[in-house]
Amino acid sequence: MFHTEEESIVTMINHIAQNNVSAGSDSDVADIVENHIIKFWSRRMKKILAEQLASGTEEFEPAAKLAAERLSAKVSA
C-alpha cells in the first residue's frame, strides 16, 4: 500500500515498468512506459510525475525514471 498521491504515482510508474520488463533493455522498457503514460495518464498525473522526478526522489526504478525523464524532456521542448 502507498500513503500519499506522490508515492502512488511513483509506485504506479514502477509497476508499469515491472510488468513490461520483458521488453528488453531499460530503454526498450522505458519506450513502453512512456507510451502508456502518454495514452492513459491524465494531465495532472503527468504533472505530479514530473514534480517527483524534479524532487530527486530515489524511488524510481531505472526504466521508469528513464521514461519520466523522456516525458519531462518532451514537455520542456
Partner: protein, 957 residues
C-alpha cells in the same frame, strides 16, 4: 400457405437441428420438417394443435400424460405424438372419435383428483389443464371425489416468491424436468410411486430449505396453479405485457413485463430472447419489488452541506442549484476541477449523454465508470491483443464447446442463466477446467464429461496461464496453421521465446500457484487437444494488480491453440453489471471517446467536435481513483454521479469517504439514498429500467431494447435529467426520445453505424460491430481478421508474472478474496430491497476448517478482520470449499464494510482495484468495528435528514 414461426407459441417439443428434411402427412396436410422433429411439433408448426399436458418445447419429450395420443397409419395403438419422431411418408390422424374418447377418459381421471375451484383459482384463465379439459370436451367426472385423493395436500409457502399447492398437482413432471434440463440444479424430484407419486423439493424439504435456487423455471413450466407466483395469487392475471431487458447481470435476459395497468404483476423470461431463450434467475424473474419500494427517492433534493437536512425542491430549482455550483466551482478552480461518473446500470443512451455532458459542457475528459473497478483490464488486454475491447462469442457458442475453461468466475451465481446453459453443455459431455481458489458450484454439476479444479492461490493467475501456455508450446500442441495465418509473426516469436523458458514449466510454478504440476499439464493438454475449447473469465481475473496481464495471457492461450473465430471457442469476459459493456462502448473512460476512439486521435476528435459543436480536450482525464486523490488535494471540487455507489463499491472505503467529504458539490442521481448520496449536496431521483426507454449491451455485445412499462416515480427518465443539467450549464442538448440519441451514437461510433431503433425493432437485438461491413451485426468476432495493425493479425503479448505486493505475512497471515452470491446483486441497493433477503441478509466470512480450528472459530462467531487498510467485523462460516489460508466474503451489505479492508493496490495498466487479494488476520471479537459504529450513526443521521425533507414538503403541501 406460408407458415411463420411464432416464438410465443409452445410447439410441444424442442426443434430438431437436423438439416435433412422429412415429408409426412398430418390430417391430410403434407408437411416437411427436419428429421428428428416430433409428430407433435410437426403438427404445431402447421397450426394443427394436438392437446398436451406434460409437453413443452423447452423440455425433452416425456410422454407421460398420454393426452397427445394420435393414430398413425400402419402402426398399432395410439402413440404419444410428443415422443414419436416423424418418418418419411408417415400418415398421422390427430382427431377422430377414438382419440377424442381416449383423451376425455384421461382428462376425466386427472380431474377426479383435482380441486374444482376454477373460479377462485389463481390460474383461472391461464391454466393449461383448464384449456385442455375444454379442448377434449370433458363434460362429466364419473368417478366422484369420495375416493382416495390429494385434495387436502398442504401448501408449501416457504418461498417468498411462489407457492407450491400440491392439491393441484397432476404429476406431469414438467417442473422436475425444467429444474433438470433448463436450470440444471436437480432440486426437484418425483417422490413415491403410483398414486403416492408427488413432487418433492430436495430431500422432501420445504422449497426454501432445499437446494432450489428459485429461478422460477418450475413455476413457468407448471401447467396448473400448483406452482404459482405469489404476485399473481395476490393481484390476479396480467392483462398486457411489454418486452424489455433485465437490469441485473451482464447476461441481459429479455423479459415480458406482464402488467395490470401500470402495475407490474410478474416478469416472464421471453422465449424469443436471444441471450436467455426463455430462462431466468431469481433476480431477474422475481426481484423487481425494489422499483416500488418505499425508499425510492421521489423528489429532487438539495442542501448546502452534508451535515444538513435535505430540502425537497422542484426539478427546476435542483437543476439550477447544481448548474450554478458547477459553474461557480469551475470559475474559481478551473475547467478540470469537476467531473463525473457514468453508470453501467443505466442505458447506452444515458451513459453516452453523461460522458458527452462532461466532455462538451464541463469541457474536460474527467469521465469514468464503474468498469474501472471491474473489467477495465478486459478493455485494455483484449484491445492490445485482439484489437477490440470485447468478448468474441455469443452465449450460445458454448453449446459447441468441447472443453470449457473457467477462470476467476462463478457463473452459476453471478451469471446464472448463462451458468445454466454451460451446465447443459457439460451434461452433453464437454469437459470442464476451473481455475479458482474456491471450489465453485459448477464443479459439482452432474455431467458426462470430466472436470478439473486448479485451486490456485489468489494472485497467481498469470503464473498459471503462463504454465498452461508453456505446456501447449513445449509439448507441441500449438495450432501452427492458425498462428501462421492469423497472428503477427514478430510478436509470436517474441512470446514463444518467453513462454518456453523453463521458469514457466508447471513444475517450477507449482511453488507459486500451489497446484500440482501434473494437474496443470493435464489441464493444458485437455484444453489444447479439444476440437473446440473456450475460455470464460470474470472478476477473479481482472481485479488483480496483474489483471491486464492476465487478460492478455488468456488471449495468448486462445490464439496459440487456434481457438478463435468460430463457434465453440473464443475469449469470453463475463461482465458484471447489465450494461458494463455498453458503458465502456459509449466512451465512459477518460481516454476514449465512444467506440474506443482515443481522445488524442485528431480525426476522430474532429468528427465529434463537428457534431457536438465544441472543441474537445486531447488529453486523458481523471480516472475514479485520481478523482479521489485530486479531491483530497483540493484540486477536484465537484462530481456528477449517475447510478453508481462508489462509497460502497470502491476499495479502501475510508479513503473514498474522505474524498467525497472534501467535495464542494456532489450531485448524485439515483433511485435510493445510497452510500454515495450520504455525501451529496444534490440528490436527483433516478428511474429504474422499468421506467425508461433505451438500450443495454450485454456481455456478448448484444444491443437490446429497454422499454418503459411504467412512468418514472419522479416524472423523468435519467437521460432527461442529464439533458436538463446540460442545458442549465449553457450547453444545449435537444432530444425528444432516446432513439435520437442512438442515431447520434451511430453517426459517431463506427461499430454502431447501422444500429437504430428501427433495426432493433426489426431484428430483436443486434451484436456490434453492426455497420456496412457487418450489416446484420457480428455474433462471432474475428472470423477472418482482427481489427488491429495494418494486416489485421492478432498480437501475442509477453506476460511477465509480477507478484502482488499485497502478501500474507506473520501479522496478516490469510488472504481475503471477495465475490458475489446468487441472490444479491453488486452493492445490493436493489436486491436488499426485495425478498431476496431471505437467502442472504448479511455478508459472511467463509474460512477453512483448519484456519478456523487454529483460531477457535465456529460458524456463527463474530470475527474481526484486519488488513493493512482497516478493520471490519463479520460473522464466520466454516466452509470446506475454501482452501487453507484463504478467506472469502461478499460485499452486498454496506454495513459489512467489506471494502474498508480492501487496499489501494491496483492493476498496473488500468488501476482496476485488487479486490481479490487482501492480506488479513481474523480473530474472535464481541462488538462491531469503529468504522461500523460510525457507519451506523451516519446512516441513521442521513436517513433522518431524508425523512425531515419529506415531512417538511408534506407540511408545505
Amino acid at each position: 400457405m406460408l407458415q411463420h414461426f411464432d416464438p410465443n407459441k409452445d410447439y410441444g417439443t424442442p426443434a430438431s437441428l437436423s438439416e435433412k428434411m422429412v415429408t409426412l402427412e398430418i390430417d391430410g396436410v403434407e408437411i416437411t420438417v427436419p428429421e428428428g422433429t416430433s409428430v407433435m411439433r410437426a403438427a404445431a408448426l402447421h397450426d394443427i394443435n394436438i392437446p398436451k399436458l406434460c409437453a413443452s418445447d423447452n423440455l425433452e419429450a416425456f410422454g407421460s400424460c398420454r393426452i397427445c395420443a394420435v393414430q398413425i397409419e400402419g402402426r398399432r395403438g395410439t402413440p404419444a405424438s410428443c415422443t414419436t419422431p416423424v418418418d418419411a411418408g408417415m400418415k398421422v390422424t390427430t382427431q377422430n372419435d377414438k382419440l377424442a374418447k381416449l383423451r376425455r377418459n384421461i382428462m376425466e381421471l386427472y380431474i377426479s383428483d383435482h380441486p374444482l375451484d376454477c373460479l377462485t383459482c389463481p390460474a383461472n384463465g391461464d391454466c393449461e389443464l383448464q384449456d385442455m379439459a375444454g379442448a377434449v370436451g370433458l363434460r362429466e367426472v364419473r368417478y366422484g371425489f369420495d375416493g382416495n385423493n390429494h385434495l387436502d395436500a398442504p401448501k408449501d409457502q416457504s418461498n417468498p416468491y411462489f407457492t407450491f399447492d400440491a392439491s393441484k398437482c397432476i404429476v406431469c413432471s414438467r417442473c422436475v424436468r425444467a429444474c433438470e434440463e433448463v436450470q440444471g440444479t436437480f432440486a426437484l424430484t418425483i417422490d413415491g410411486r403410483g398414486f403416492d407419486s408427488k413432487v418433492a423439493a430436495g430431500q422432501d424439504e420445504d422449497f426454501l430449505d432445499s437446494e432450489c435456487v428459485s429461478c422460477g423455471a418450475c413455476v413457468q413450466a407448471c401447467p396448473t396453479a400448483t406452482l404459482m407466483e405469489n404476485s399473481v395469487i395476490d393481484m390476479g392475471t396480467p392483462e398486457h405485457s411489454v418486452t424489455t431487458t433485465c437490469a441485473y447481470c451482464g447476461v441481459g435476459c429479455s423479459f415480458k413485463a406482464e402488467m395490470k395497468g401500470d402495475q407490474l404483476v410478474r416478469m416472464v423470461p421471453a422465449k424469443e430472447g436471444d441471450a436467455n431463450h426463455g430462462h431466468s434467475c431469481v433476480k431477474g424473474r422475481f426481484a423487481f419489488g425494489y422499483a416500488t419500494h418505499k425508499d425510492r427517492i421521489k423528489a429532487p433534493m438539495i442542501r448546502d452541506s452534508i451535515d444538513q437536512p435535505w430540502k425537497e425542491v422542484s426539478w427546476e430549482e435542483a437543476i439550477g442549484f447544481a448548474a450554478k455550483r458547477l459553474k461557480d466551482i469551475q470559475a474559481q478552480y478551473g475547467r478540470e476541477s469537476i467531473g463525473g461518473i457514468t453508470s453501467s446500470r443505466c442505458t447506452n443512451e444515458e451513459t453516452y449523454l453523461v460522458q458527452k455532458l462532461i466532455r462538451a459542457a464541463f469541457g474536460n475528459n474527467n469521465t469514468d465508470t464503474c468498469a474501472r473497478v471491474c473489467h477495465s483490464p478486459t478493455g485494455y488486454g483484449l484491445k492490445q491483443t485482439l484489437g477490440e475491447s470485447a468478448g468474441t462469442q455469443t452465449f450460445d457458442s458454448v453449446m459447441f464447446s468441447d472443453c470449457i475453461l473457467v477462470i476467476g468466475a462463478n457463473p452459476t451465481d453471478a451469471h446464472p442463466v448463462f451458468g445454466s446453459l454451460m451446465r447443459r453443455r457439460l451434461r452433453e459431455g464437454a469437459s470442464l477446467i476451473v481455475a479458482d481458489p474456491r471450489e465453485i458450484d459448477l464443479l459439482s454439476t452432474p455431467h458426462l464429461g470430466n472436470s478439473t479444479h486448479l485451486p490456485l492461490r489468489p494472485g497467481t493467475n498469470v503464473a498459471m496461464i503462463n504454465a498452461l501456455a508453456h505446456v501447449v508450446i513445449t509439448e507441441g500442441y500449438e495450432d501452427k496453421e492458425f498462428i501462421a495465418a492469423r497472428c503477427e509473426q514478430g510478436a509470436y516469436a517474441k512470446w514463444r521465446e518467453f513462454i518456453i523458458e523453463e521458469r514457466h514449466a508447471p513444475e517450477n510454478v507449482e511453488e507459486i500457484t500451489g497446484v500440482k504440476a501434473e494437474k496443470v499439464r493435464d489441464a493444458a493438454r485437455k484444453f489444447a487437444t479439444a476440437k473446440n475449447a473456450s475460455i470464460y473469465y470474470g472478476l477473479g481475473v481482472t481485479e488483480h494488480s496483474q489483471g491486464s496481464t492476465m487478460v492478455m495471457g488468456i488471449a495468448n492461450l486462445a490464439l496459440a491453440t487456434g481457438n478463435m473465430g468460430r463457434e465453440g471457442v473464443g475469449v469470453n469476459p463475463l461482465r458484471g453489471q447489465n450494461n458494463v459493456q455498453g458503458s465502456c462502448d459509449m466512451g465512459s473512460f477518460p481516454h476514449e471517446l465512444p467506440g474506443y476512439q482515443h481522445v488524442s486521435d485528431a480525426v476522430a476528435r474532429a468528427r465529434f467536435e463537428k457534431v457536438w459543436g465544441v472543441t474537445l480536450d486531447d488529453e486523458p482525464g481523471l480516472r475514479i481513483p485520481n478523482m479521489f486523490d485530486a479531491a483530497l488535494s483540493g484540486e477536484f471540487r465537484a462530481m456528477y454521479v449517475q447510478g453508481e455507489d462508489i462509497a460502497q463499491s470502491d476499495p479502501n472505503t475510508q479513503h473514498v469517504e474522505a474524498a467525497l467529504s472534501a467535495l464542494d458539490c456532489l450531485i448524485v442521481q439515483d433511485i435510493f439514498l445510497n452510500e454515495t448520496a450520504k455525501f451529496a449536496h444534490v440528490l436527483l431521483p433516478g428511474s429504474t429500467f422499468l421506467e425508461k426507454n433505451g438500450t443495454f449491451t450485454n456481455a456478448e455485445r448484444r444491443i437490446n431494447r429497454v422499454r418503459k412499462v411504467m412512468p418514472p416515480v419522479a416524472g423523468k427518465e435519467d437521460w432527461e435529467v442529464t439533458v436538463e443539467l446540460s442545458n442549465a450549464l449553457g450547453y444545449p442538448m435537444n432530444y425528444s426520445h432516446p432513439s435520437e440519441i442512438m442515431d447520434e451514437i451511430a453517426q459517431l461510433t463506427p461499430s454502431f453505424a447501422n444500429v437504430s431503433y428501427d433495426m432493433l425493432e426489426k431484428h430483436g437485438s443486434l451484436q456490434w460491430p453492426c455497420n456496412d461491413e457487418f450489416p446484420m451485426g457480428s455474433p462471432i468476432m474475428h472470423t477472418e481478421s482482427f481489427p488491429i495493425g495494418d494486416e489485421g493479425k492478432a498480437l501475442f503479448a509477453v506476460t511477465e508474472f509480477v507478484p502482488t505486493t499485497e502478501r500474507a505475512n506473520g501479522r496478516f497471515p490469510l488472504l481475503l478474496t471477495t465475490g458475489r452470491i446468487l441472490s444479491q446483486y453488486n452493492v445490493g441497493a436493489q436486491t436488499r430491497r426485495t425478498d431476496n433477503q431471505a437467502w442472504h441478509d448479511e455478508d459472511i466470512l467463509d474460512i477453512h476448517p483448519h484456519d478456523a480450528e487454529e483460531r477457535g472459530i465456529k460458524t456463527g462467531d463474530w470475527l474481526g478482520i484486519t488488513s493493512r487498510a482497516g478493520q471490519t467485523v463479520l460473522r464466520a462460516r466454516v466452509a470446506e470449499r475454501m482452501q487453507p489460508g484463504v478467506v472469502y466474503t461478499t460485499f452486498h451489505h454496506p454495513g459489512s464494510g467489506a471494502n474498508v479492508i480492501t487496499t489501494n493496490n491496483s492493476d498496473w495498466a488500468t488501476n482496476c482495484p485488487e479486490y481479490k487479494v487482501t492480506a488479513v488476520q481474523v480473530e474472535k471479537v464481541s462488538q462491531p468495528s469503529e468504522w461500523q459504529k460510525n457507519f451506523q450513526d451516519n446512516h441513521e443521521r442521513q436517513y433522518e435528514f431524508l425523512r425531515s425533507a419529506a415531512s417538511s414538503a408534506d407540511a408545505v403541501k
